[in-house]
Symmetry: C2
């Protein structure tokens, strides 16, 4: 395990994507999205994803440089056809449009169809929260999760993020999969030859399993039982059905299907608290709430109460200073990708 400067990794990944034919801005957005996740300790969506994105681009499954088309537009809503470009690029533009609509009209929402995997959802919500908006991002995902009462999967692990500005404190940020656990974590366990805890997943016959390979062939279960299942379904409706994207089993798998586009859909929403409160009234109230929560006694086994996104924010601070640790296999894989394009892998930070 060696540590790398986030800026170096971002530059390296962007260079690899650019060499593979991705336009400059998009290559940088894609690289930044992965580094964002790596910095926040979300390795499952971190720079290790370079390989699969590059593979899909190389195999013609993503059209990295196609232009976005705004298909529908009203004062506060819009629908974008991403035309199978990079999910992160389409999503960043869509989320920025949602904020623009919100700043004009109080609230704005933008749907995206015909898109690809959009990485960590908080990559879109946190920047909007830093600009003062309450932001929501969600996406559907390839079929892998069984709805409540079903023996076969229908939705994916449909991610959901919100981020809320909190004055002098860091934005309060949720970024979660609607499964009990993200498939990325199962994938990591599989890569590292580890077993997974019982209850995370079921094999393709519907039996509980601790074998990550069988779990990846099978499916995961929603968080929070029947309630979480209903929330995952709602994300499928907003991100998939409302946007005109593919949904349910008609979505393409990122890892296992190199014969068709993924056809993913996303949904972004922004609210301008300034339309509810004059000046910084909302921020002051958020500060009060956070201080009240931090002052509560922690439950046994917890040193103190962490707000959503707080631990990830601390990881981001620490890794911005000390670098992003990469496992040797991720390191080797990344180096290998660069070699193809004669791009030099950055030096690790010396201890």
């Amino acid at each position: 395990m060696s540590n790398y400067r986030s800026g170096d990794l971002s530059h390296y990944c962007a260079s690899v994507f650019t060499a593979a034919g991705v336009a400059h801005e998009r290559a940088h957005i894609l690289a930044e999205s992965m580094v964002h996740a790596s910095l926040r300790g979300v390795e499952s969506h971190g720079v290790s994803r370079t390989t699969i994105y590059l593979k899909r681009i190389a195999e013609g499954m993503i059209n990295p440089n196609s232009e976005l088309v705004i298909e529908q537009k009203s004062s506060s809503s819009a629908l974008i056809d991403a035309r199978n470009t990079i999910g992160q690029y389409a999503s960043l533009k869509a989320s920025e449009l949602a904020a623009e609509l919100a700043s004009l009209h109080g609230i704005g929402c933008v749907g995206v169809r015909r898109s690809n995997h959009f990485g960590a959802a908080s990559f879109y919500t946190i920047p909007l929260a830093r600009r003062g908006f309450i932001a929501i991002a969600m996406s559907n995902a390839p079929t892998s999760m069984a709805l409540w009462g079903a023996a076969k999967p229908y939705t994916g692990t449909n991610p959901l993020s919100y981020s809320v500005p909190a004055g002098k404190y860091e934005p309060v940020t949720l970024d979660m999969a609607t499964s009990i656990v993200a498939r990325g974590k199962i994938r990591r366990a599989w890569k590292q030859g580890e077993t997974i805890p019982e209850g995370w997943a079921i094999d393709s016959d519907g039996n509980p399993t601790v074998d990550p390979e069988k779990a990846l062939e099978g499916f995961v279960l929603p968080f929070g039982g029947v309630k979480g299942s209903a929330i995952a379904l709602f994300i499928e409706i907003l991100a998939g059905v409302l946007t005109g994207a593919a949904f349910g089993p008609s979505l393409g798998s990122m890892y296992n299907d190199f014969t068709k586009e993924q056809g993913l859909g996303h949904f972004f929403l922004a609210i301008d608290p300034g339309k509810f409160f004059p000046s910084d009234g909302f921020s002051r109230r958020m500060e009060t709430m956070l201080e009240e929560i931090w002052a509560l006694p922690a439950s046994p086994g917890n040193e103190r109460i962490f707000l959503p996104g707080e631990k990830e924010g601390l990881a981001e601070k620490e890794r911005s200073l000390n670098g992003i640790p990469l496992e040797h296999d991720v390191e080797a894989e990344l180096q290998d990708l660069g070699r193809r394009y004669e791009i030099l892998f950055p030096k690790a930070i010396e201890n």
Copy 2:
């Protein structure tokens, strides 16, 4: 246990509220909200709540007839000061305004502050879905639930509802508390002298309990662990912090505090799918999704897959035909309330 016609119960409850000084329209909305819950089998929010609403009105803790004031307004958002009127009245008006904004601009949201308990959240979302909108309703609630990692409660069991139009099928409707279980269910168990399952709640010292009385003195836990906790917090932010309502421990208890207003906040959101799809494109896609899900094999122990709100919808159909069953104690309590105002309790349906 006797069954009563929903129309009779609605008329009776409305008459009682009118006799207690509530203006005609508001009395009827309040009665309809409770009958809506009773019809859908959600007894915890059903006609049995007449007693507590009436008590708060009688004690001057609710100003039933005060006029709503729209405090802030932009094209797609609004903030309403409910001026301590009946929560159901303020909420119905707010949700209708959200739909009006959505029909004009694609999406609309309306916050409400200085309100009271708003009953079953689906009372607001289902009518909007029947008119073609995707609707969301949420409210904060008196402190009773511990956030993830906390030994003391902060938020309430903050309810969340969505309802989505589905063409020829009934709207897909979630109506949930963000606790593992609604406090109303614990209250019912207490009224009926039953114990509650372990894991639902913790007593005031933080110990697990199966005694509903101790659970009501203590607090409940969020659904879905750390993820559900973050969702409950987000509802507190949108319904409480953003609206200028009270939040966290500063909210007044409906049952235990007759010295101050509840100060609740709500948040309503509506999306017009017509702004994303021409004509009935969205409805057709929803029909396809529902048919795909119903066609999935059910997991062991389940006869078939039920979508969110489907069981409640079946209950509503059955009870619309055969009447709403009332326990004897609820029956007696309701009769007693009417006697005060010389209003005749309806006859039960004869078998």
